[in-house]
């Protein structure tokens, strides 16, 4: 029964394609499969741990100051991720750039702290964070993979398309217009399949 908190986040309450929040990192960092996965994992780490911590201290945090407390907790984990990426994945950090510290204002994370973790137990909050994280990472990874394949003919840097395609690839997919176009089409597909519109 409790596992519905987990499954909800992946499709029915997918943060990006159903709830339409957290769009900036989804569009900006999905230029290749590897960078998209890196961003997904970084945001997932922050979301899961902030959910657990907010839930753990929910009984001693007065209601009036809960938002600043959430922000402090979230920004602590964001700073940890920021420095880990800078130290161990400097190339990826250069690509993700300002979007790593901007995880702190990602609406998904503050939204889950406020709407879920503040009212539920630690284990439920963990499941909720995990489900939403997988939902977010899945969308950003699919977009990154499609954009990398169409623009460069590679997947995780490995050539998978014939030479003729690479020479005439859809280079604009890697630029902002391609990102907007792709998420528009994905959202229309989701509308058709899951929302019966």
């Amino acid at each position: 029964m409790r596992f519905r908190y987990f499954w909800n986040g992946i499709i029915l309450e997918n943060p990006v394609l159903i709830l339409m929040i957290g769009l900036c990192p989804t569009l900006a960092t999905s230029i290749s499969a590897r960078d998209a996965l890196g961003m997904g994992i970084a945001a997932s780490f922050v979301l899961i741990f902030s959910n657990i911590f907010v839930s753990a201290i929910r009984k001693i945090v007065p209601e009036n100051i809960r938002i600043p407390v959430f922000i402090i907790i979230i920004s602590t984990f964001v700073t940890i991720v920021d420095y880990i990426l800078q130290a161990y994945q400097p190339d990826m950090y250069k690509v993700l750039g300002v979007f790593v510290p901007l995880i702190v204002v990602n609406c998904i994370i503050l939204g889950r702290a406020e709407a879920f973790a503040y009212h539920h137990g630690i284990f439920d909050s963990f499941l909720d964070g995990l489900g939403k994280s997988i939902g977010f990472t899945l969308v950003i990874f699919i977009m990154g993979a499609i954009r990398e394949i169409l623009a460069q003919g590679t997947f995780f840097g490995v050539k998978i398309m014939p030479e003729a395609f690479i020479n005439n690839s859809l280079l604009f997919m890697i630029f902002p217009p391609g990102g907007f176009l792709l998420i528009g089409i994905l959202k229309a597909i989701v509308n058709k399949l899951f929302l019966n519109r």
């Binding site: 339409m20 929040i21 769009l23 900036c24 569009l27 900006a28 600043p68 922000i71 402090i72 920004s75 602590t76 964001v78 700073t79 920021d82 420095y83 750039g97 300002v98 510290p101 901007l102 702190v104 204002v105 990602n106 609406c107 503050l110 604009f172 630029f175 902002p176 217009p177 391609g178 990102g179 907007f180 176009l181 998420i183 528009g184 089409i185 959202k187 229309a188 597909i189 509308n191 058709k192 519109r197």
Partner: protein, 196 residues
């Protein structure tokens, strides 16, 4: 970084437009840009808060965090400072400048934790701008936000009357329209050699 203020202005205003080229601040962009009048108010509020936020975080970083080796507190301190600053400004406007509050008031809480504001304060530090360039970058970015959000609201007002298949109504067609607008902005690449 030593770069001429004019280049900074055109880079932040058009060439590397915050919404269409950098993808920062998209949530309010798609949420608010349904009417031209609300977009105009939102744009003014963003310019105002962006200037205020960069003006207060710049000295905090350069005269407080940097000398004390506390750079790792950047994320936490900036967001708290900006959030409380906007609260103060809102209270002050409500008390002293009623007219201005009626025009901007409802947008101020919306943009407190908007990634466009926080992103700009991070960017001016990552680019190592001096104070004049910082102010120009903040103003140009805010102006770029306002231009795009108004342009886009005009498109969306027309979209309301267009015959669109059901699965594309709402967000999907807005994304595709944004894609076309941003394709046009790609044409500004290298305008006056402005790029950061």
């Amino acid at each position: 970084m030593n770069i001429s203020p004019a280049k900074v202005f055109f880079a932040s205003f058009l060439v590397q437009n915050i919404l269409l080229m950098r993808y920062i601040g998209l949530c309010p962009f798609f949420g608010v840009s349904t009417r031209i009048s609300t977009s105009f108010g939102m744009g003014l509020a963003v310019i105002f808060v962006m200037l205020l936020a960069t003006l207060i975080t710049y000295p905090i970083y350069h005269f407080f965090l940097l000398p004390l080796n506390l750079e790792f507190l950047r994320t936490a301190s900036f967001i708290l400072v900006i959030a409380s600053l906007v609260q103060f400004v809102e209270m002050f406007l409500k008390k002293s400048y009623r007219q201005l509050y009626n025009a901007l008031g409802i947008y101020l809480p919306l943009i407190t934790t908007n990634c466009a504001i926080l992103g700009t304060t991070f960017l001016v530090i990552d680019y190592r701008f001096h104070l004049l360039n910082t102010i120009i970058f903040a103003f140009g970015t805010g102006l770029g936000f306002m231009l795009v959000i108004i342009l886009f609201a005009a498109i969306r007002e027309k979209l309301d009357y267009a015959p669109i298949s059901n699965s594309f109504k709402g967000y999907p067609i807005a994304f595709i329209a944004a894609s076309l607008v941003s394709l046009a902005f790609l044409g500004f690449a290298n305008l006056f050699g402005a790029s950061l």
